[in-house]
């Protein structure tokens, strides 16, 4: 009996290995392997060189793992570049960067615990996290423990409370309200149905967009959130939304399920436009349906691969080579943020005084070489938010078209 069991086991294991890694998906290549819970990207230091530790806490397992990996990839790439170029010099001393990443499963309490661990074990002056819940959890003690939060979230709230050591990397989402509303209303009509994701972020977004829409003379005919972690099928919800005959649909959440939702709306006969929350990226949505035609008339954030900043092309090419997929804005923004932090350390003349580094962020931004400018950050505001031009795009005739936004 035990022999049989062994044979069965071996068969099963070998089957798993046959499958391993061979799956091919033409439109959506492998997003890289799963991450170990704690991973350190070690710096090869030569004699006389020192190491600066940088922390990262984000979802590396569970439903949001792909998102965490992509944000981490941006930081990783920047760190690698800095190290292969021989590190950087502060006050006559050469430093290399060591990246310590921990998995927080998207849970704010885990982010806080990870931050404590990173501080104790690695003494990190900067900790990146890609979700607003984690940012808020760390804001409880980051000023006391003196570390900078590299906050990858467009939630305006994280910089609204005057935390002095928070740096918000992407643009605030409230800037999107006006261009999105204007475009959708002019091109499609005044009736909107909202089916955003059920996360806190989705709710905050909706609470901001809906009043804006009504102020602009529109009408909200349906408003209900979809829980992508609980609903298998969106037909029910979309049927109800369409019953109210909307001209525009507001959707959003992770790109892939959002794309599926849009696809189902089209199948049910919806012909209007979409407003797409900044969490979802048009190019990633396209990889689900294989064509932009499904999203005709959608207005959302300009995909990074279609952007035209000085450093974008170079970054996109490098990223494709390294990770075998198109980079999204989450990788791009974390990439430049890491470079800016490095420049700020040089300008501040210190690698461990978080307050000094924060004070020299503006100098860091100005010192960022043009070829690293995947996005162009013009300045950092008092509250710690990067000021980046909003990049808005719409899908017209099955193609991405960049839209000019008056700032």
């Amino acid at each position: 009996m035990s022999k049989l069991r062994l044979v069965l086991f071996v068969m099963m294991v070998s089957f798993v290995f046959v499958l391993a890694g061979c799956i091919e998906n033409t439109s959506n290549p492998d997003a890289g392997e799963g991450e170990a819970e704690a991973e350190t990207q070690e710096a090869d230091t030569e004699e006389g060189e020192k190491v600066v530790n940088i922390g990262y806490s984000g979802p590396l397992s569970g439903a949001a793992a792909y998102y965490g990996e992509r944000t981490l990839n941006g930081v990783k790439m920047a760190v690698e570049e800095i190290n292969t170029n021989g590190g950087f010099e502060v006050d006559g001393q050469t430093y290399k960067i060591e990246l310590n990443s921990l998995d927080d499963k998207y849970l704010p309490n885990e982010t806080a615990a990870n931050a404590k661990r990173l501080l104790q074990e690695n003494d990190t002056p900067i900790i990146f996290t890609p979700h607003s819940g984690g940012v808020k959890a760390m804001q409880v003690f980051n000023e006391k423990e003196k570390f900078i939060i590299g906050a990858y979230t467009s939630e305006p709230g994280v910089t609204a409370e005057g935390n002095e050591l928070t740096v918000r990397i992407p643009p605030r989402y409230d800037g999107y309200m006006d261009p999105f509303t204007t475009y959708a209303m002019e091109n499609f009509g005044k009736k909107i149905a909202a089916i955003p994701t059920a996360s806190q972020y989705g709710k905050d977004w909706t609470d901001m967009l809906m009043p804006h829409w009504e102020e602009a003379g529109g009408e909200v005919v349906y408003n209900s959130s979809v829980d992508f972690s609980k609903d298998t099928d969106f037909f029910t919800m979309v049927t109800n939304a369409l019953e109210n005959d909307p001209d525009v649909m507001f959707i959003g959440g992770p790109s892939e399920p959002t794309a599926k939702l849009a696809e189902q709306a089209r199948k049910l006969g919806f012909e209007g436009g979409f407003i797409i929350m900044d969490q979802a990226k048009l190019d990633e949505m396209k990889s689900v349906t294989g064509t932009y035609e499904t999203f005709e008339g959608a207005v959302g954030v300009l995909p990074l691969v279609d952007a035209e900043y000085p450093g974008t092309d170079q970054f996109v090419e490098k990223y494709r080579q390294k990770f075998d997929e198109d980079p999204g804005s989450e990788a791009g923004f974390n990439y430049i943020a890491t470079h800016i932090f490095k420049e700020a350390m040089i300008a501040a003349g210190t690698v461990d005084d978080a307050e000094a580094i924060r004070e020299h962020m503006q100098a860091g931004i100005e010192a960022l070489p043009e070829d690293k400018q995947v996005y162009t950050v013009s300045k950092i505001e008092e509250d710690g938010g990067f000021v980046t031009g909003l990049s808005v795009a719409a899908v017209e005739n099955g193609e991405i078209k960049s839209i000019e936004v008056d700032q």
């Binding site: 799956i23 792909y66 029910t236 019953e243 892939e256 399920p257």
Partner: protein, 287 residues
């Protein structure tokens, strides 16, 4: 009127998926009294294996489903032999802990093999059909027809074949079945095989309308537990009826009451049914 028929159809579709998942869960519970928390992971693996065989070897959708049903069924057997069979004399809590362990293991394994990103499964059945004011896709029709066909087959198998009868016998009385010469180990393995196969079939049918990702088992597993409690733990008609009750209450509740509270409606229904029938709709007497 249109919206009612449309929502009834939507409820039927989602109810079919729920029922198939709940059937596998209830079978194992009926025989072994194990709440198999890892069932959601089997569902997820079923979708991945179908997707992989389709993309990697270019198999036809139906051939891929057959392979997936077989592989996941065998995985179920393996789970029984390696884990649950070893724990047959242990206190019941050990089974539950082991089931959760398997769930975590399989999910992590899937993420390691296939990566964490969402994948979409495309089938040749994407076209939209409009009939009687209904908008449906071919895939949805397949889900409904497929689920009902499998339910009938399962029923015939259990009621009309000798092997099926041994499963029922064992569910009614394990010792008794053993005494009349039924090999209970074999029946247990067979049950796990069926259960895994049903999960794989449900996942392969429903994956094209959603996405394939390591956490997809969570979409259905909690609801499947609700269903088998509602229908009566271990009852097959209970799992089927329960699945459709939940499907319809979700779609109709979302339409006529409130979409935000549709889960509350489903759980409220559970509370009401359990207050009148504490053992579920069909308290088990050998299925």
């Amino acid at each position: 009127m249109d919206i009612l028929t449309q929502q009834l159809f939507n409820g039927l579709t989602i109810g079919s998926v729920y029922s198939l998942v709940a059937l596998g869960l209830t079978l194992v519970y009926g025989i072994l009294h194990i709440p198999n928390f890892a069932h959601g992971a089997l569902y997820m693996l079923g979708a991945y294996i179908t997707l992989t065989t389709m993309l990697l070897w270019g198999f036809n959708y139906w051939v891929a489903i057959a392979i997936s049903v077989l592989v996941v069924g065998l995985l179920g057997v393996l789970m029984d032999r390696l884990v649950f069979h070893q724990l047959r004399n242990a206190p019941p809590i050990h089974d539950k802990i082991a089931a959760i362990g398997i769930l975590l293991f399989l999910e992590a394994l899937a993420q390691l093999i296939w990566g964490a990103d969402y994948r979409s499964m495309s089938t040749p059945y994407g076209e939209v059909i409009n009939m009687f004011g209904l908008t449906v896709t071919m895939q949805r029709v397949l889900i409904n027809v497929g689920a009902i066909a499998v339910m009938i087959l399962l029923f015939v198998f259990l009621k009309k074949t000798y092997i099926g009868a041994t499963i029922i016998a064992m569910a009614q009385n394990r010792e008794g079945a053993h005494l009349v010469g039924i090999n209970t180990n074999k029946v247990a393995m067979l049950t796990f095989m069926l259960s895994g196969g049903l999960a794989a079939f449900a996942a392969s049918l429903s994956a094209p309308i959603n996405l394939v990702f390591p956490g997809m088992g969570h979409l259905v597993i909690l609801k499947a537990f609700v269903i088998i409690i509602l229908g009566g733990m271990g009852s097959i008609p209970g799992a089927i009826v329960g699945g459709y009750i939940l499907g319809f209450s979700e779609s109709l509740g979302a339409t006529y009451l409130s979409n935000d509270y549709k889960d509350i409606i489903a759980f409220l229904l559970l509370v009401i049914i359990l207050s009148f029938k504490p053992k579920g709709l069909f308290s088990r007497e050998g299925f």
